[in-house]
């Protein structure tokens, strides 16, 4: 992989120069303790700036307004974004990855023309309506019901863990259209306009105090039949396109941000120790710092290995599961060390930096937020099952007697 990236040194310098010239130097200051409105406004500003520079939709085909960058160029771009400490475009994640992957594979021309340009204008934020209160890890158990009545579906049910739904206009929605079919066969995939009557949201308060997630309640919500993506009852296959859309670039960006963020731990370790001297003089602190540093190196190697496989056209295999477990455990220990180094002062509520990476130096917030990473996107337990069964070829967990 390294050879491919070497050829892109010119491109790298170009991106680096653009970020230097365009990233507001005080953005972290401005977004620390920012309100939701300020956060949304800044995300929109930065996304549009990135679009103007030609970097906002690097993986989108040029015919749909994207940069049409090669995979290697995208790797370089995300390395540079992480290096510059630029904002993460959190609000646009679903719109930029899931929407094009889904619509370009399964959508109608009309759906593509209606929605893809609107995403790139920065006007339309999307959210995901997959998980339900009784269908998270076991997504195929979803029960949100859609009944066909003439030229529309009537939808009733509940969705949960929908990030940023309170800022979104559209939702990628999975519903059950055939309750008699086996679990994965009766599901349909639809575009939901969140301004439709019958849609209501409830924010969910997290242990950090913030509310990024929402519950979405759907009461007799009418969705036009033309908003169906892919075949009726064939939504499970469509969802696979959605979920395999970003090919490891997000984890690359996060791994790079963590690599640069390690300096924050080193800085914090220079603080005076309660026992005299500096914290870093303590053997145990040094051991923990080295442990984290070594694991960051290993993470990047795991990510490189996966990206190489993707570039070569081989499937990612179980690498995403291995990396997900590795990263989320590492993030927890990284931020835990931050809490240790920060001492009592790191434990009070402090203003949160909005739109940033997962390591900000607001250690208790970072640490508690890290706990979401071992749940979201497939819990660590589910990932370990996948690795055990698909990579190690271990047998599935036996069914328990008496449990149906």
């Amino acid at each position: 992989m390294i050879n491919e990236l070497k050829h892109l040194e010119g491109f790298r310098q170009e991106v680096r120069g653009w970020l230097q010239a365009n990233l507001p130097a005080d953005w972290q200051e401005r977004m620390t303790g920012a309100s939701e409105e300020e956060h949304v406004a800044f995300q929109k500003f930065w996304f549009r700036k990135m679009m103007d520079g030609g970097y906002g939709a690097p993986h989108w085909p040029a015919e749909w307004g994207g940069s049409g960058f090669s995979f290697a160029q995208q790797i370089v771009l995300y390395e540079e974004i992480a290096r510059a400490g630029a904002p993460r475009l959190i609000l646009y994640f679903i719109a930029l990855y899931h929407v094009p992957a889904t619509l370009l594979a399964w959508g109608t021309d009309e759906q593509r023309r209606r929605h893809l340009p609107a995403v790139l204008s920065g006007d339309e934020i999307w959210c995901q309506g997959f998980s339900e209160p009784n269908a998270g890890s076991d997504l195929a158990s979803l029960r949100c019901r859609a009944e066909r009545r003439g030229d529309h579906y009537v939808v009733n049910g509940q969705k949960t863990w929908s990030s940023n739904a309170h800022h979104a206009r559209y939702c990628l929605l999975l519903t059950r259209t055939d309750p008699t079919a086996t679990k994965t066969r009766g599901i349909s995939y639809m575009i939901l306009d969140l301004q439709t009557p019958g849609v209501s949201l409830r924010p969910i308060k997290q242990i950090t105090g913030a509310s990024h997630f929402n519950e979405i309640f759907l009461d007799d919500v009418k969705i036009p039949v033309e908003n169906l993506i892919g075949p009726e009852h064939g939504g499970w296959a469509v969802a696979q396109s959605t979920l395999s859309s970003e090919r490891g670039l997000t984890i690359l960006e996060l791994a790079e941000r963590m690599r640069h963020g390690f300096q924050m731990l080193l800085d914090a370790a220079q603080s005076p120790s309660p026992m005299g001297g500096r914290l870093i003089d303590d053997d145990e602190i040094r051991r923990r710092l080295v442990d984290i540093y070594a694991r960051i190196q290993a993470l990047r190697l795991l990510v490189n290995n996966m990206l190489t496989r993707v570039m070569e056209g081989a499937g990612a295999g179980v690498e995403p599961s291995i990396i997900k477990v590795y990263y989320s455990d590492l993030l927890r220990d990284f931020t835990d060390l931050g809490v240790t180094l920060g001492g009592a002062n790191a434990q009070y509520l402090q203003p949160v930096l909005m739109g940033c990476g997962n390591e900000t130096g607001n250690w208790m917030q970072d640490y508690l937020y890290s706990w979401a990473w071992t749940i979201s996107g497939g819990s660590s337990e589910i990932q370990r099952n996948i690795i055990a069964e698909r990579a190690l070829n271990l047998p599935r967990e036996p069914k328990l007697a008496g449990v149906k």
Binding site: T208, D336, Y348, L349, I375
Partner: protein, 323 residues
Amino acid sequence: MDFHFTEDQDALVCALQSILQDHAELPQAERFSYCYFNETLQKILTESGFLDAGHDIGALEAALVVAETAKLPVMVETSATGLVAPMVLAGEKLAGPVALASVRNLEKAHRNLTIAQTMLVDMGDDVAILTIDPAQVEPVNSIYGYPYGRFVTPPDLATARLLVGQGAVLRQWWRVAIAVETAAASMAAIDFTVDYVKQRHVFGKPVGSFQAVKHRLVQCKAYAMATHYLAMRAAWSADPVHADFAACHAQQGVQKLLFDMHQFHGGMGVTTEHMLHFWTYRIRALQAEAGGVYGAAIDIADRLWSDGTQPVNLTSAARSEAA
């Protein structure tokens, strides 16, 4: 150490439980709070004498009161008021609730300061007793399951009443209190989680039927029970090394326990919508106090190996205790 309650202890715990069951529930309006201090229950426990067990019966009985109350989702202050203060100041009752602090960080936020009438300050060799003027305390915004406050102006320690030579006693019982409270809150959090993983189904089975979950839950339970027995031993023996061991064990194991409890609640575990945080945030707050895990570990090493020549023979120490 006898692992069974005496008749008196049994009566004490039963009487206490009958009171607690009427006040254990969180008001609906407080479900999303980080902390709910039940002032009514605090008053009842004070007036009915449960916080005097340390004076009237003994430290172990006071610890049992702490253990029972710390299992509640609502918060009442029993550990400093009912256990630490009576051990530091035998024969004299201080106005409660009592808060604890170290002179080294008096300017920082303190647990329970906003509800306290009295504070015991670890001055090193001695202990200062401060009467709290509520006008001199400002609340500090915190996610931990206790009310935190800070002094608006530094309290006047020069004129405070001093308990000469009681510093070590305060630190010892502070650690016992931390261990008792951590163990009890851990047990409550584990029970709450066990109930959840039995009810919650995934792939057609209760979450708790998967080995990935139940093996780790068992480890959590073992940790909590070990902490409980170490804490009770420290309350029973009044041995400072036992207090250090109990606190060290309680504070060291917290990280894993807290994470697993939240993890097994799935997405609900990263919200404040499922009550779990009422226990786990208190456990987390206790982890940092009285020197924290490093302080306790260093004290153990200093007490046991102070001459630096050879490690203490733990086997023989354990044998003499058993005898």
